[in-house]
Symmetry: C2
């Protein structure tokens, strides 16, 4: 049962075979475990910010030596036969499970489709695993499942396998859904966080903070003059449109990411740190709805750190940026796309932003749990 | 974004495109929803027996029209490019999370590896999605993760992508893990529940009930003279050995299943109903350890309905059965393999068993929750 020659993994050098340099030896008594600041898991470990990174760096990576996490991409790219595949998984634990613009089922489909699409893959097949709490209303389950059906149809993917577990009352929270997807990469590009390069333009596909502020407003019982709705949507078709901008240039999109947990600021920081480049944003260009601004002010939040579920960030070579932008604006999900800044050689690993009043502000990674259980 | 010619799906005809005959129209007002006997989810809906089947038939299938569930296989088989892939997912919610012979991490790797292997696939890559409860001891998480590393190495698979969510204290139960796997099918056989055929011999790979009774004994605080240990193990290498029995015959293994939730009796019933064949077992041949028998007696359980996590059932053409059995017995995980019965034309959809005292007993599907949260 040894892997044969036609099975390989792009950029992944994961050794689980117990050899000398394996994780087993790294974890042996002669090599102390990394110091982890907590004895117990806290909510912030799931919020996508510094604490999540800490958990990954100190608990998961030492065990699995998984360079796909180290690549900071939201999907693994593996080659089987002659085919490059993307493979991504996400658990969804959002509360409340129904919210304006979507529900946990819709989110579970779009979220995993988007993780696949951010490698430039065409998503094909999904699995869904349900953890139901005893007592869940069957009508709620039906509604979630129907939402998943609709969302899968919208995204053009098929749900082909699944699993259901039930846990005792008080040992879950209505419904948790884990979706996993397979997509096919049909172009030659290598789209990854580590490909970010100075002079790349940073394109944002539209208004930020809609999803996060929808959930928070629901939880806090806030009402605003103009309702906020989650932006949750599958971005695979938008990505295909972007990749089709030209057939004469190759590799013009270096990096794609959907700024979910931790928002635009955290996502750009992760890319900057990983590729060891700086970024300079222009605050005036970043689109935020008045309703989202208002909700953020009431709750003391910064929209740059608020989760999105239907937006993407693209790092594009400068000579192609306008053409890609134009292409995006023809698409329903990219009509408000803008260039919000660029990658720079200065201050590697840091994201700076020119503020509206002319100053410069450092945007750091989110610390702890700004918004727990947002997805 | 239309699927192209080289992407197809074996035996799957899932229509999510909103056409006339789609699930959307099936669910429309003109077509009433199937009657589901419960208003709320109960533990039995997750136990792998009649109630789980009911949930799948009446809630999931009408929405997704997913013939892979209908095939009663534990994995989807899809063709991408020229490559046949198996794709399987499972959530693990076992309690307690540590038990003799394993833990939830080990189970999460072996469980999904086995679902892939039951299609005859060679498992390659896994994803892992963690739902952690706030307050989980980090030392417990480390121990689970280390177990997963070891189990993945044993099975020869690589864990290439993952996700972590944290839920509030009292909204989860320490740790839930969802693993999803991709495997490659390198032979021409079509191994599936619906291929069960009269005269096939039914081979069981070893002692039954070890996993389920280990968990139950832990929960009930029972102690027995000889300790019971979970049998949890990856069966992919055993399956490869079985497939290698001969190169001169093809398709000699019709069906493979690991009898997890619901045990041997439920698994065989599912196959019998799906392939519309009968089965006749010989009780005297079914290996059950004395300690498991004892624990079952104390708790009023039948070992034939108790979950296994390292055993398989194989339906093999009669002329090859002895050769496959011999091959299995050379393997550490198949040394106690036996032929426990055969597929018959009589009583289609039913499993009958000749009892030790000479009578004949009908083995039905398990109803409700004999053993909740066993995996």
């Amino acid at each position: 049962m040894k892997p044969d020659g036609n099975v390989s993994k792009t950029g992944v050098d994961l050794d689980l075979n117990g050899e000398e340099n394996s994780a087993a030896s790294l974890l042996s008594a002669s090599c102390p475990l990394p110091v982890f600041d907590h004895n117990n898991i806290v909510l912030g470990h799931g919020s996508g910010g510094k604490l999540t990174a800490d958990l990954i760096d100190k608990i998961f990576l030492p065990a699995f030596r998984n360079p796909t996490l180290d690549k900071l991409d939201d999907q693994a790219v593996v080659t089987i036969g002659n085919t490059r595949l993307a493979f991504a998984t996400d658990s969804f634990v959002v509360t409340p499970i129904f919210f304006p613009g979507g529900d946990i089922g819709r989110l579970a489909i779009h979220g995993t489709v988007n993780d696949l699409a951010m490698s430039g893959a065409r998503p094909l097949y999904l699995s869904a695993a349900f953890i139901l709490e005893e007592g869940l209303a069957v009508d709620d389950l039906r509604r979630v499942v129907e939402s998943m059906r609709t969302a899968a149809a919208e995204a053009g993917v098929e749900l082909v396998t699944g699993d259901t577990k039930v846990v005792n009352r008080g040992k879950g929270d209505q419904i948790f859904i884990t979706t996993t997807g397979i997509g096919i990469i049909e172009h030659d590009s290598n789209i990854s966080a580590d490909r970010a390069h100075p002079r790349d333009k940073i394109i944002l596909s539209g208004y930020i903070g809609d999803h996060g502020m929808t959930i928070m407003s629901q939880r806090e019982g806030l009402e605003f003059e103009s309702a906020i709705e989650s932006d949750c949507a599958s971005l695979n078709d938008l990505v295909a449109t972007m990749l089709a901008t030209t057939s004469s240039a190759k590799d013009f999109i270096h990096t794609l990411r959907d700024p979910t947990r931790g928002g635009v600021a955290t996502t750009l920081n992760e890319i900057a740190k990983h590729a060891n480049v700086g970024m300079l944003l222009d605050e005036r260009t970043i689109p935020v709805r008045e309703s989202v601004k208002g909700a953020c002010e009431v709750l003391g939040l910064d929209p740059l750190y608020v989760a999105n579920e239907g937006k993407l960030l693209a790092l594009v070579v400068p000579e192609m940026a306008d053409a890609v932008l134009e292409q995006m604006r023809q698409h329903r999900l990219g009509q408000d796309a803008v260039i919000i800044g660029e990658v720079v050689e200065a201050h590697p690993g840091m994201v700076l932003m020119k503020t509206e009043i002319g100053g410069t502000r450092v945007l750091d990674v989110m610390f702890g749990e700004q918004l727990p259980r947002i997805c």
